[in-house]
């Protein structure tokens, strides 16, 4: 056996060990994914099928169920250190995404004008007139029903120097909304900083208008 053939054998051995590691890594990932899939509902798959009806076609299924997995399996087996790094990164260095969405468009702040205040009301009157009736009894027997917590927050924030008012507002900048009403807290100096919208008058889009 010559020196070059020995060197070649060592190189082949290293390549074989590398590929074996890749094979083990791929198999482990596959097993973990299979276990996860068993514990999942069919929700995502059904949803994807509803979104893309052609996912049920034989050609698409062959492509999606056989070609893509085999291709990815081979790719990961060849470049398993990269895949391993991403797995470790996802497991131990994951950054939390904020749960509040950032609006895609800037929304103009809604400010109530004092001219939109109709009349001063008492807490007792508001609570008496805002029980929500439902024939299926799917709403709590509290003022403002499921939104009672919002009302309680507004009610409890009213200071001795502040008054509670009914408001009605017509705005053209909210598409589909013709009018809205609710309750606002007016401070001693006449400013309105807190309010709760409780009703809307809705307009359907005209023909050729999209929502």
């Amino acid at each position: 056996m010559t020196e070059s053939s020995v060197a070649m054998t060592s190189w082949q051995k290293y390549a074989l060990i590398y590929l074996c590691c890749g094979l083990v890594f791929c198999t482990l990932v596959l097993i973990v994914n299979r276990i996860d899939r068993h514990s999942e509902s069919t929700f995502v798959r059904d949803g994807m099928n509803a979104l893309n009806p052609w996912r049920k076609d034989l050609f698409y299924r062959l492509f999606d169920d056989i070609f893509i997995p085999v291709f990815v399996y081979c790719l990961v087996m060849l470049f398993w250190p990269v895949a391993l790094w991403f797995k470790v990164k996802a497991k131990f260095f994951k950054t939390e995404t904020p749960s509040k969405r950032t609006p895609l468009v800037e929304i103009k702040e809604f400010v109530l004008s004092p001219t939109e205040l109709i009349r001063e009301v008492s807490v007792q009157e508001v609570e008496r007139t805002n029980f929500i009736h439902d024939p299926m009894e799917a709403v709590p027997n509290l003022p403002f029903g499921h939104c009672n917590a919002r009302w309680v927050t507004l009610r409890d924030s009213i200071q001795a120097t502040e008054t509670l008012w009914e408001f009605e507002s017509s705005r053209s900048e909210f598409e589909g909304t013709e009018m809205m009403w609710g309750y606002a807290v007016k401070s001693e100096n006449g400013s309105i900083e807190r309010f709760m919208t409780t009703g809307w008058k809705i307009k359907l889009p005209q023909e050729n208008n999209s929502l």
Binding site: S41, F43, V44, G47, M48, A50, L51, N52, P53, S99, K100, I132, D134, P135, M136, A138, V139, P140, G145, H146, C147, A149, R150, T153, G176, T177, M180, T198, G199, W200, K201, I202, K203, L204, P205, E207, L211
Partner: protein, 140 residues
């Protein structure tokens, strides 16, 4: 942005997709926005609500979501004391319900086009008006 799962609506004995998300307004106004686990890039809002229109009223009758700690989200956990049905009186707006065959798939949000769109105006959870729009072949 991937095409998004729609909400599910039961209306007049049939199941429809609904492109409006009436639950978001309720969740957004909660003291703390509930933390749901990510589902898929086809569901950025992380939940799918199941709705029903009965007696001209909009009801939430189910939700498919998981809290970040792994617990399943139920109606009772969002609306204590109401495990089966919740009257959506907080919602006012226009429900957009695509109907018929999909005429054009768009891999973005709710932009795929269908033969018709049913619009329902809802005021404080009560359906006050409906309109059917027939879309032309190009979806306009």
């Amino acid at each position: 942005m991937t095409a998004q799962f729609t909400e599910i609506l039961h209306y007049q004995g049939q199941q429809f997709s609904m492109r409006t998300e009436p639950l978001f307004e309720y969740l957004y106004l909660m003291p703390t926005f509930p933390e749901f686990r990510e589902k898929s890039t086809a569901c950025w809002r992380r939940y799918v609500g199941k709705w029903e229109i009965l007696l001209d009223r909009l009801y939430l009758v189910g939700i498919n979501a998981t809290y970040k700690d792994g617990r399943e989200v139920t109606l009772d956990s969002l609306f204590p004391g109401f495990p089966d049905r919740v009257f959506a009186h907080w919602y006012s707006g226009v429900l957009n319900i695509p109907q018929g065959k999909m005429t054009k798939y768009v891999h973005m949000g709710y932009l795929s086009q269908y033969e018709q769109n049913l619009f329902m105006a809802v005021e404080n959870g009560v359906v006050v008006d409906t309109q059917m729009r027939i879309n032309s072949d190009d979806g306009e």
